[in-house]
């Protein structure tokens, strides 16, 4: 143990915790009695039927194997592979998110550069920001008249605020020295924005983007439960209606894995724009 590096020791501990956790889970699920062991009374009461219960991890892993070995099958509206469902969710998240970024980053720039704009827009931001994104759903459904677009709108509205606020904050906080460098080199407003202010504020902006993508992924599951049709959120709800808890647990895990991957991608971007003063 002493010969291992910190990372190796941490990995061993992680695997150990996983193994113990799975074992406890597996052992805590009571086994169903086989039909032959039942008394006549029990059989008469219909207890020979298989009862729904929380599945043990072995079943979940078998399900995962089955689903992941053919993720893109499409056998009708209520039976699509996990890959297709996740694909729909990611498509909605990225569309809503990209629209939000397209508006939030330039607008945040403007707010950060101009104290007047900041003061003027701040009350609106403060009122709109704490609204649960799902509260917009009825209004969005009524106005847009399209459940697909409404889900995207909900993602848009939930991911815009962290990006907007962080961009404004990052731009407003750019060191005056660097702005002075731009001024003494006679850089125009556009060149100053792109060559000095954007790289200076980039770490703060990307932090906002990272928070936004996390929130967007949280919200898409709930949004898809409401709008239905496709997507990982719909899949979870559909499997609950089917009382297939194995699939529910499997999809919960998949939501976690995809969320982690999205976050990691922004982690890479964050390291790329980071600088040391």
């Amino acid at each position: 143990m002493a010969g291992l590096s910190l990372n190796q020791r941490a990995a061993v501990l992680s695997l150990l915790l996983l193994a113990v956790g799975l074992l406890v889970w597996e052992l805590s699920i009571p086994a169903q009695k086989a039909a032959t062991e039942l008394t006549e009374y029990e059989r008469l009461m219909g207890l020979g039927q298989e009862r729904a219960g929380v599945p043990p991890p072995s079943q979940v892993m078998a399900k995962a194997w089955e689903q992941l070995s053919d993720p893109f099958y499409d056998a009708g509206p209520n039976d699509k592979g996990i890959g297709i469902q996740i694909g729909y969710s990611i498509y909605r998240v990225l569309t809503g998110y990209a629209l939000a970024a397209l508006i939030a980053i330039p607008l945040g720039f403007l707010i950060g550069m101009s104290p007047v704009a900041y003061k003027a827009l701040n009350p609106f931001i403060q009122v709109l920001r704490p609204i649960s994104p799902l509260a917009w759903m009825p209004l969005a459904l009524f106005i847009i008249q399209d459940s697909e677009a409404s889900a995207i709108f909900v993602i848009f509205i939930c991911s815009i605020w962290p990006m907007l606020i962080n961009t404004a904050f990052g731009v407003a906080g750019v060191r005056q020295d660097w702005v002075n460098v731009a001024r003494t080199h006679e850089l125009g407003p556009l060149r100053t924005a792109f060559t000095v202010i954007l790289p200076a504020a980039a770490p703060t902006i990307v932090t906002g983007m990272r928070i936004s993508i996390g929130i967007a992924w949280l919200v898409i599951v709930a949004a898809e439960m409401l709008v239905g049709g496709t997507g990982i959120g719909y899949y979870v709800w559909n499997e609950w209606n089917n009382l297939d808890l194995t699939s529910v647990i499997f999809s919960i895990l998949m939501i976690g894995v995809v969320g982690m991957a999205l976050d990691a991608a922004f982690g890479v971007l964050q390291r790329a724009v980071a600088y040391v003063e």
Partner: protein, 300 residues
């Protein structure tokens, strides 16, 4: 009398003092700088040196008064006035070389990429930076190296006026000495007009053609213009041998120690003030040799 290359006329700066009144930092300050001259301004903290520097750079507006360069009034920052800031002000996300090429590109927008890079490398080499070092980020350089980059960036742009705002203030004494020598070397080859702020009397004597002395604030003004009558090229070890060195040094120490305070707070009743020119030259004075040991004993 012809106007000097840079002329500062009736410069006044006031700030609100927070109690409804105004605080006058300096009033009717005026002086001139000739082309190719190295002028250093000395004064205590709070006398408005940095404010004057920012006004010359075009980064700040004076309450009243004008700065004229080449006959035109200065308004706003310009590539004709390069600035070396005390805290280097390098862009931390760019490499050393990119920090310089960024400036060269702004100055010479028509140049090709290769021309810009060659020019930047040449000036970095002049301050002793070459090889792998120029691809490092500023955070990976020592304070002295960062200030060298900042100096290279300013000189590479051939500004008509170079402004140095306490460029060596944050450096240790040994590094400061080396970079002072390098600054002198580059400056010697370019005929660059330089205006510099410092707190360091020895640095001022080593570098300057003329030292402007400021009284304490409020109502600070440029009281004297002391000519440095030590011939160039100068070296740090060479100048202390010169008979004028201690005479000038004592004059400066005495001014900063006592007279800057005595002269402080006097309002000028609106008359444009020009600094009194002081010329100390012991080389033509026969009695100087007898006085020298006495002067040596004065320490600050």
């Amino acid at each position: 009398m012809t106007k000097p290359f840079l002329s500062v006329e009736n410069l006044t700066q006031t700030y609100p003092d927070g109690q409804g009144g105004t605080l006058t930092v300096f009033e009717n300050a005026g002086f001139g700088v000739e082309k190719g001259e190295f002028v250093v301004i000395l004064g205590h903290s709070g006398c408005g040196k940095s404010t004057i520097m920012n006004i010359l750079a075009g980064l700040a507006e004076p309450t009243s008064g004008v700065v004229k360069m080449d006959g035109y009034a200065v308004s706003g920052p310009s590539l004709d006035r390069g600035v070396v800031f005390q805290n280097y002000s390098l862009l931390p996300w760019l490499s050393t070389l990119k920090n310089v090429t960024f400036a060269v590109q702004a100055r010479f927008p028509d140049w090709t990429r290769a021309q810009v890079t060659d020019h930047a490398r040449k000036y970095l080499e002049m301050v002793g930076l070459s090889g792998d070092v120029i691809h490092r980020k500023p955070s990976q350089l020592s304070g002295g190296m960062r200030q060298r980059v900042s100096i290279a960036r300013a000189f590479a742009n051939h500004p008509k006026l170079l402004l140095l705002d306490e460029p060596f203030g944050a450096l240790d004494a040994l590094t400061r000495g080396t970079i002072q020598d390098e600054l002198l070397k580059i400056w010697g080859g370019t005929e660059q007009t330089v205006f510099m702020i410092t707190h360091d009397i020895d640095e001022a004597i080593l570098l300057a053609d003329r030292i402007l002395l400021m009284t304490n604030g409020p109502y600070a003004r440029v009281a004297e213009s002391v000519e440095i009558t030590i011939p160039r090229p100068r070296t740090r070890t060479g100048i202390i041998e010169h008979p004028n060195y201690y005479a000038i040094r004592n004059h400066l120490v005495q001014f900063l120690g006592t007279r800057s305070r005595e002269l402080a707070g006097r309002q000028t009743d609106g008359a444009p003030a020009t600094p009194e020119t002081v010329r100390i030259d012991k080389t033509t004075d026969a009695e100087a040799a007898d006085e020298a040991p006495v002067l040596r004993a004065v320490n600050h």
